[in-house]
Amino acid sequence: MTAHLTWNLVEDIRLLLQFPFMVNALRAGTIVAVVAGAIGYFMVLRRESFAGHTLALIGFPGAAGATWLGVNESLGFFGFCVAGALVIAMVPAGRSSERSAVIGTVQAFALACGLLFVSLYHGYLTGLNDLLFGTIIGISETQVLILLVAGALALAALAVIARPLLFASVDADVARARGVRVRLVGALFLLLLGVAAAGTSQVTGTLLVFALLVAPAATAVRLTANPLAGVTLSVVIAVLVTWLGEGVAYFSPYPIGFWVTTFAFAFFLLASGYRRFAC
């Protein structure tokens, strides 16, 4: 990147916004961060990080398959992630060791399929690293629109199931006794998680989704016990991390994935340190 960072912040922002690709990247990043921050908060509460990570990885064969078949990448991401969520939701949550074994197998097989699609499509190496680790260039207007629609739907659905979901996540047995359909709510949540993972993949790359899905939420959980404040804080941190990451990636030779994960991890460390010394 040829742009140079100066001490004049207004000038920096003007430089940052001079190309449409960067504006698109920031738009997509903001949408994705809001969705990931909110859904990630529930994922952390429910201890479903492994499922979340697997859903994110399932996006890779989706995108690779879409590229191979010549359809829109976003469709591949969303299609595969939602299908993966359905497969994981079908396994009863009874014995955790068995469920996680299923998740692990699904994950490995999905990634292997991704490898197959990439090698069938002969553009072997060029796009692969971008797909896995994200890039700030190449996010189109259509992609931003798809992300916006999917994100808005996911957030609306989350708002509808938020109360029973929170209840079921905090105390599944009592929730069941009070008439909450725990299994259904859990399955619906996995679907939302799939949508969030698919969206985030397109900005941070498949492998680094956790920077937005788990780190901001984990930071928020360490700072407040109030769910509403927690979700808000998680969203704010996710958006901040994305802006910082995309901004710095624009001015530096290193890729966005590195910066986003680093800022997210720094927030997490600060929050952990704060809690250790403040309490």
């Binding site: 492994f50 490995a108 896995l132 680094l208």
Partner: protein
């Protein structure tokens, strides 16, 4: 097929690593530490890329990173599933570092483009050299011996840590040591199926074995056997159909084995009384 030297090397390394993964994976599944394994597989990537960027042998970085992080996870978490948020946040960042090293490596070696990254992530067993295959086999064999030596206390500690601790099993020591071994196995398996596809050998065969038998020693042997079968069948398949990448072929076989085991189990399990859920 067996007269080809690249195939001989692939079979040597593949078999050794499969036996190791089957045995170690059985305990990983039993202890529900798959998420820790997931983290280690990603750490392997960063380790390998850091070694490449520094210009040393790739395997050095691979083993140093996975064993180091494995021991740290063991010391921090006790049981891997307890604090998956810390694991998740940390390995996301470690992977981010991996991207950083990739960028460093690609800018410094204009010719050595991103092939290395793909090799580490998805393996290249047909490209393994004779010396690398022998080293991998020797390391795998010694790790198998280590795991078998600590198998009894580890089994006890995995099934009932409280009682095991009361009976004098060093539970707190076993956790980090075991995750260190998982780390080393992850580094080994990365050379065969690639860092991202580790679970094909580390999760699917043990999970299939667990579905087929409840008897621990039999399951352990079965798990190693199934992993080996997956590697052999996968390699044969990839040799016969050159368009299939070998890593995909091995993974496809091991996933089918798991699916078959799950179906047999649920078909057999219908007339059984349901087991109490833990």
């Amino acid at each position: 097929m067996l007269s080809q030297p690249f195939m001989q090397h692939a079979l040597l390394a593949g078999t050794a690593v499969a036996v190791l993964s089957g045995i170690v994976g059985y305990f990983v599944v039993l202890r529900a530490q798959l998420f820790a394994g997931d983290a280690l597989s990603h750490v392997a990537y960063t380790g390998a890329l850091a070694a490449l960027a520094a210009g040393v042998d790739l395997r050095l970085g691979l083993f140093a990173a996975t064993i180091g992080v494995g021991v740290i996870l063991g010391l921090l978490g006790g049981r891997g599933s307890t604090d998956d948020v810390v694991i998740g946040t940390t390995f996301a960042w470690v992977l981010g570092l991996g991207v950083f090293f990739l960028a460093l490596f690609t800018t410094r070696h204009a010719a050595g483009n991103s092939t290395a990254s793909v090799t580490v992530l998805f393996g290249s067993i047909f490209g393994i050299s004779a010396s690398a295959a022998t080293t991998a086999a020797v390391i795998a064999a010694s790790l198998v011996v280590v795991v078998l030596l600590m198998a009894r206390p580890l089994l006890f500690a995995s099934l009932d840590p409280a009682v095991a601790a009361a009976r004098g099993v060093p539970v707190r020591l076993l956790g980090p040591v075991f995750l260190g071994v998982v780390g080393a196995s992850a580094a080994e398996a990365s050379q065969v199926v690639g860092a991202l596809l580790l679970f094909g050998l580390l999760a699917a065969p043990p999970a299939a074995a667990q579905r087929l038998t409840d008897q621990p020693w039999r399951a352990l042997a079965l798990s190693a056997g199934l992993a080996t079968a997956a590697v052999w069948l996968g390699l044969t398949l990839a040799y016969a159909v050159p368009t299939l990448p070998p890593s995909f072929a091995m993974l496809a076989v091991s996933t089918s084995i798991y699916a078959a085991a799950a179906i047999t189990r649920s078909a057999r399990g219908r007339d059984r009384t349901p087991r109490p859920c833990g």
